[in-house]
């Protein structure tokens, strides 16, 4: 192969903004397909999956392959791209009834509560029915095809990436409309007879043939842009003829073969359609404890080794933070990874906590019999420690001081050992550890929680080993009784309860992020959150801490003297004027601010500068968007729950102000702490 061909084949765009939605669509479809397959008698329907994935692959090929890189140089490449967008990807995506697997692949609640009202909205259904009727679908398809190939508009699109994107979107979506009445992907009975697909396909072919013939026989170059920029020996006229032939021959085949197949099918006598038979889904048997249970000790041991290495380097290594493990690992990598693990799975840091590992070893020699003082059984002590930690991070420059970081880690080990070595249960985790409190609150937006699989099993249980423990495992040291546990607050993901339950009735199960903030039931060991001022203050410290912490790293730096009184006033105002649950409603926004801020430092450390600039800010804004939307939703539901509708506008203004402040911070030049550049 010559060098030009090699270079052409290597010209893939691979833009994550295109790849990510396609990948997401593939994952959703595969999830739904697996679910549907379980319900149907025929357990294998690989054709269905293959069609949809092939459709996505063609779409990817059209937008990201060398075809896209060369569409400014060769009309033939551009026409091949259009052919894939209009005539290949849409039918592949619509074949074999994709809507059911797509809907089944999405979270049930989202489909029922979010999409349901739209799917059953008569006006929308009427519009969709009108758009997918053969005359309308054909008209839109033909107009879009002809309009965008008029030289003036074609050249406009060629010179503007936004218009070029719009052009491709028009081709793809009118392609979907055109192929809809041909394929009739359902669900439900199609409102027009099958034969209507034949004239529709023939009319589509007519438009395509006319356009192709115009390219081939016009005798002049239709798009002067291809005359100015030529990247090969082929003349613009020859290229145009080739483009016309590509559209004409493969294009006609794509229209005529389905028309023929439908005609043959209509004329044949055997038109019985075998419908797949539904079978009753057997309830899934309760599985034995999760394999992840076995991973806890190795994960803790690994974290212990890392913590020891960080301490050793912090005490004895180079004290220049970017070159010291204690300056980099805890502040850039660990903080980011633990928050993203919380958002993706759950409280994985507490799961692998090295402090409790050492504590467990120490307990073999220490008595651990005392009861934690009643006066300290709240979050106040840990709130004070958390505030001290946030203050020390900034005021003492912990991130820039490896020896101080190592001291902090050593103090952590000693405190965990001292407190849990003498007091019963997990007093350190529950009442003292500020990192734990941060993770508990953040895990309120985790997509998974440790909970029971079936309530009936617990109703017939007489041992309650999940809290009392047994010979296999201790019970929950955080005093969370599984049948009454609601949400992730105070749960360290230690999985002791999973090990202890004799009925294997506990698992890490999916739960919509922040769903547990939409109600205020009695929670085991916590009571009702609306009555817990300490929990509300803890959440507010974490929420406002996110903004104060990030703003200290931007220039112009806002002084503590200004920020702290504002943050404190907002906290006091919230606590006095609104039910406590309103404060917790801001947790998603606070968590998204932490995540976006930590992402900035992590991405700055691991990504090359040009990639980092392109990705970081968009990702940060999207994270804040998600946090704001979730917070607004929770606030709105709380306003209904507590009949406090009048409070909602003021509360949402506060949320919007925090969001705006967060965005403002991200548009300022931020210090790249702990890094060489």
């Amino acid at each position: 192969m010559n060098a030009v061909a090699n270079a052409a084949l290597a010209s893939w765009a691979l833009d994550f903004r295109v790849a990510a939605p396609l990948l997401l669509a593939a994952l959703v479809y595969m999830r739904g397909w697996l679910r549907v397959r379980r319900q149907l008698r025929d357990p294998r329907d690989p054709g269905r999956l293959a069609c949809f994935l092939a459709g996505l692959a063609v779409l990817f090929l059209a937008i990201e392959s060398p075809l896209d890189s060369f569409d400014h140089f060769f009309l033939s490449a551009h026409m091949t791209q259009h052919l894939l967008l209009m005539m290949v990807a849409p039918p592949l995506l619509l074949l074999r009834h994709p809507i059911v697997p797509l809907l089944r692949g999405l979270p049930k609640t989202f489909v029922k509560e979010g999409l349901g009202p739209f799917l059953t909205w008569p006006a929308l259904r009427r519009v969709l029915r009108a758009l997918t009727s053969p005359p309308a679908a054909f008209a839109l398809f033909a107009v879009s095809t002809i309009f965008w190939h008029l030289p003036a508009f074609y050249e406009l699109a060629l010179n503007s990436s936004a218009l070029h994107g719009l052009q491709h979107a028009c081709f793809f979506w009118t392609g979907i409309l055109f192929w809809w009445p041909v394929i009739q992907p359902g669900p439900g009975k199609a409102p027009y007879p099958r034969w209507t697909a034949i004239p529709l396909l023939l009319a589509g072919d007519l438009v395509n043939t006319a356009l192709s013939a115009f390219f081939v026989f016009s005798g002049r170059v239709l798009y002067p842009a291809y005359e100015i920029v030529r990247a090969g020996r082929m003349s613009a006229q020859e290229d145009q003829t080739l483009a016309g032939l590509i559209m004409w021959v493969p294009g006609s085949i794509i229209y005529l073969i389905p028309a023929l197949a439908i005609a043959v099918r209509l004329l044949s006598s055997d038109r019985l359609v075998q419908r797949p038979t539904r079978v009753r889904v057997q309830p899934r048997p309760i599985r034995s404890p999760l394999p992840i249970v076995k991973l806890r000790r190795p994960a803790q041991a690994l974290m212990l080794v890392i913590a020891l290495a960080v301490m050793a380097d912090g005490f004895f290594g180079n004290q220049f933070a970017p070159l010291n493990l204690a300056g980099v690992l805890p502040w850039i990598y660990w903080r980011f990874l633990s928050v993203f693990a919380l958002l993706a799975i759950g409280n994985l840091f507490c799961f692998a906590c090295p402090f409790t590992f050492v504590r467990d070893i120490g307990r073999k020699f220490l008595p651990a019999r005392l009861r934690w003082p009643r006066a300290l059984r709240s979050k106040w002590l840990s709130i004070a420690l958390l505030v001290a930690y946030l203050w020390a991070y900034e005021a003492l420059g912990l991130w820039d001081n490896p020896a101080a970081t190592a001291c902090l880690i050593a103090a952590y080990f000693l405190s965990a050992l001292a407190i849990d070595g003498f007091f019963r249960g997990a007093a350190f985790c529950k009442y003292v550890c500020p990192i734990g409190q941060f993770h508990f609150v953040t895990s309120l937006v985790s997509p998974r929680e440790v909970r029971i699989k079936r309530a009936q099993v617990c109703q017939s249980c007489s041992t309650y080993d999940c809290i009392r423990g047994n010979v296999h495992s201790r019970g929950c040291e955080l005093n969370l009784f599984q049948p009454k546990k609601f949400g992730n607050l105070d749960c360290t993901f230690c999985l002791d309860c999973v090990r202890a339950c004799p009925h294997s009735n506990i698992a890490i199960l999916p739960s919509p992020p922040a769903a547990t903030l939409l109600a205020d039931p009695y929670r085991s060991s916590l009571g009702r959150l609306s009555k817990r001022t300490d929990v509300a203050v803890l959440a507010l410290v974490i929420i406002f801490g996110a903004f104060v912490n990030a703003s200290q790293m931007v220039s112009p730096v806002i002084s503590w003297a200004l920020e702290l009184p504002i943050a404190l006033a907002a906290i006091v105002l919230l606590l006095c004027c609104a039910p406590k649950s309103f404060s917790l409603g801001l947790v998603p926004l606070g968590v998204s601010m932490w995540a976006a801020h930590l992402l900035f430092h992590f991405a700055g450390a691991v990504l090359p500068a040009s990639v980092f600039t392109a990705l970081a800010r968009s990702a940060q804004i999207l994270l804040l968007d998600a946090g704001l939307l979730l917070s607004l939703y929770i606030g709105w539901r709380n306003a209904q729950l507590y009949s406090a509708r009048k409070l909602f506008p003021a509360w949402s203004i506060l949320a919007a102000a925090l969001y705006t402040f967060g965005v403002w911070i991200f548009f300022q030049p931020m210090q790249m702490r702990g890094m060489l550049h």
Binding site: A3, V4, N6, A7, A8, A10, S11, W12, A13, L14, D15, F16, P66, S69, F70, H72, F73, E113, G114, P117, F118, T120, W121, N159, S161, I228, V229, R230, A231, G232, R233, V606, L607, P608, S610, V611, T613, A614, L615, R617, S618, I621, L622, D625, L628, L629, L632, Y633, Y659, V663, F667
Partner: protein, 161 residues
């Protein structure tokens, strides 16, 4: 780690190749086309070098761009379209600049092109992220519509038996 991530994101690293054609000029045996949309901030430039006699693309040249007191080597590695040579230049002020392209190739020798370009001011930085910001009002509107539809559904009288 950095290497793996660099490879993973190599595609995003590659420049967007082009923008509009800035100018096209013949110099010696080379026909040089420069693409770009110069504005304040980081701007990507792509260069197509062709053999002036038969217009075949030349892939083994050395290309550099000098503008605004900066000199940058343009390479295939930085381009999505591997027929082009791409690089990035940072402009600090809008206005007219003189852009020089130097091309050198073993057999054909070298060429030098000088051309004036206009660097436009950048739009407000947040404008570049409007799709990210638009997400919030769009989601709120959809949610409002969703709630309206739900309330309409509950108000609808039950169907007659």
């Amino acid at each position: 780690m950095k290497l793996v991530l660099s490879l993973l994101f190599a595609a995003v690293l590659a420049f967007a190749d082009g923008g509009a054609v800035l100018f096209r000029q013949q110099s010696g045996p080379f026909l040089v086309t420069v693409f770009g949309s110069p504005q304040v901030g980081s701007t990507d430039f792509s260069v197509l070098v062709q053999n002036a006699s038969d217009r075949s693309p030349m892939l083994d040249a050395e290309v550099s761009i000098a503008v605004a007191h900066q000199l940058a080597a343009a390479t295939h590695a930085q381009a999505t379209n591997k027929l082009l040579y791409a690089t990035s230049i940072r402009f600090f002020r809008p206005g007219e600049y003189s852009l020089q392209v130097r091309v050198a190739q073993m057999e054909k020798g070298g060429a030098y092109i000088d051309h004036d370009i206009v660097v436009s001011p950048t739009p407000a930085p947040w404008l570049a992220y409007w799709p990210c910001f638009a997400l919030v009002p769009v989601a709120i509107l959809l949610f409002a519509l969703n709630q309206w539809l739900k309330s309409k559904r509950t108000q609808r009288p039950p169907a007659p038996p």
